[in-house]
């Protein structure tokens, strides 16, 4: 890449950022203008959007971890990855907490894996995967490098896979086509990062 002329590098960076921003802005924009919002209270709306925002951030996490985003230094990239990780925990807590306030029995059913809707179980699996990732990340210095990386990668695959199954089955505020495109990009982004990383 470093041997590319500067114009080409610039054009490539512009393309990557435009693509990523569009991939997030279109589904989020459609969700915040969903007709379903007219019949939901503020807590339910916020809970849903917190879940959508968390999923959208999954698009950036592997790219930041691998330092693949143009214009961001390796150091800044890692720091952003860690900060977004904390934001993800907060968003998932807001998502589950807001849904709990809206309909306690539905969330209790989901947490106990006895929900009527199969996507609920995938959401709960993704939630525990995320919490486990946060704990593993906090104890990173106490783990061997290989152990740490295997755990973090395994959990990332679990979280993204479960989130994809969770989101795609929901009939909610997200528009189905833009949601499917975002989910596909998140899965592809993680897969590409893992397949092309340094051994």
């Amino acid at each position: 890449m470093s041997c590319n002329p500067p114009e080409r590098t610039k054009a490539k960076a512009w393309l990557i950022w435009t693509g990523l921003i569009a991939a997030v802005a279109v589904p989020v924009g459609l969700a915040v203008t969903s007709p379903l919002l007219a019949w939901r209270g503020p807590i339910y709306i916020a809970a849903g959007l917190a879940g959508i925002a968390a999923m959208a951030l999954f698009l950036f996490q592997p790219l930041l971890a691998a330092g693949r985003l143009p214009g961001i230094s390796a150091f800044d990239s890692r720091r952003m990855h860690r900060r977004i990780g904390l934001v993800l925990v907060a968003l998932v807590l807001a998502h589950v907490g807001g849904l709990w306030l809206t309909s306690p029995p539905d969330v209790i059913d989901a947490l106990l894996f006895r929900s009527a809707t199969p996507f609920s179980a995938w959401g709960v699996i993704a939630m525990w995967g995320l919490f486990a990732t946060a704990l593993v990340a906090l104890s990173r210095r106490r783990l061997r490098w290989r152990t740490w990386r295997a755990l973090h990668t395994g959990l990332a695959v679990l979280i993204v896979g479960a989130t994809a199954l969770h989101a795609i089955q929901i009939e909610g505020t997200m528009e189905p086509v833009s949601k499917a495109a975002l989910v596909a990009l998140i899965v592809l982004g993680l897969a590409a990062t893992l397949l092309t990383r340094r051994r």
Partner: protein, 162 residues
């Protein structure tokens, strides 16, 4: 004299079939013949409010919840049975009192109650129904609409004496 000559293959096949039938629970007792009672559905009782009032219509209406109430076994229609209905609609969340109402089944066992349009909530456009009076065992249903644009939803109760 008739000789019972059972070839080994026949014996194995018949015995095997009998084993499979038994193991698969296909030999149902005679009393279950006829109409089986409706089991409660997962999540059916969520946001249930006991004693919802009998109403002519829930809110402004525009959507119809319909169904039947029958007796387990002979399938006879049950008249005058109180069915409670609630859902997330254009006029309120499932937990809101104004989202709840009840109706009584007619002489032919059918019931219908007009209510506001059901809208997708918690991932699916769905309604809730309950039979919770004393004469029969309690049943909670949670039917899902095939399309969020549907203007009606059906649920059927087959009740078992308490």
């Amino acid at each position: 004299m008739t000789q019972l000559n059972l070839p080994r293959r026949t014996l194995l096949a018949t015995g095997g079939a009998a084993l499979v039938t038994g193991a698969a629970g296909l030999r149902v007792p005679a009393r279950a013949q006829g109409i089986a009672p409706t089991p409660s559905m997962r999540g059916g009782a969520n946001n249930y409010r006991p004693g919802a009032p009998i109403v002519d219509r829930i809110g402004g209406g525009g959507f119809w919840m319909t169904g039947t109430v029958r007796r387990a076994g002979d399938g006879a229609p049950l008249a005058g049975q109180r069915i409670q209905i609630w859902a997330h609609t254009t006029e309120g969340h499932e937990r809101d009192p104004q989202s709840h109402g009840a109706t009584l089944s007619a002489a032919d066992g059918t019931f219908r109650l007009e209510m506001p349009q059901i809208v997708p909530a918690f991932g699916q456009p769905h309604g809730h129904l309950a039979y919770d009076s004393d004469a029969f065992q309690t049943v909670f249903l949670r039917p899902v609409m095939a399309s969020a644009r549907d203007k009606t939803l059906q649920a059927h109760f087959v009740l078992q004496p308490a």
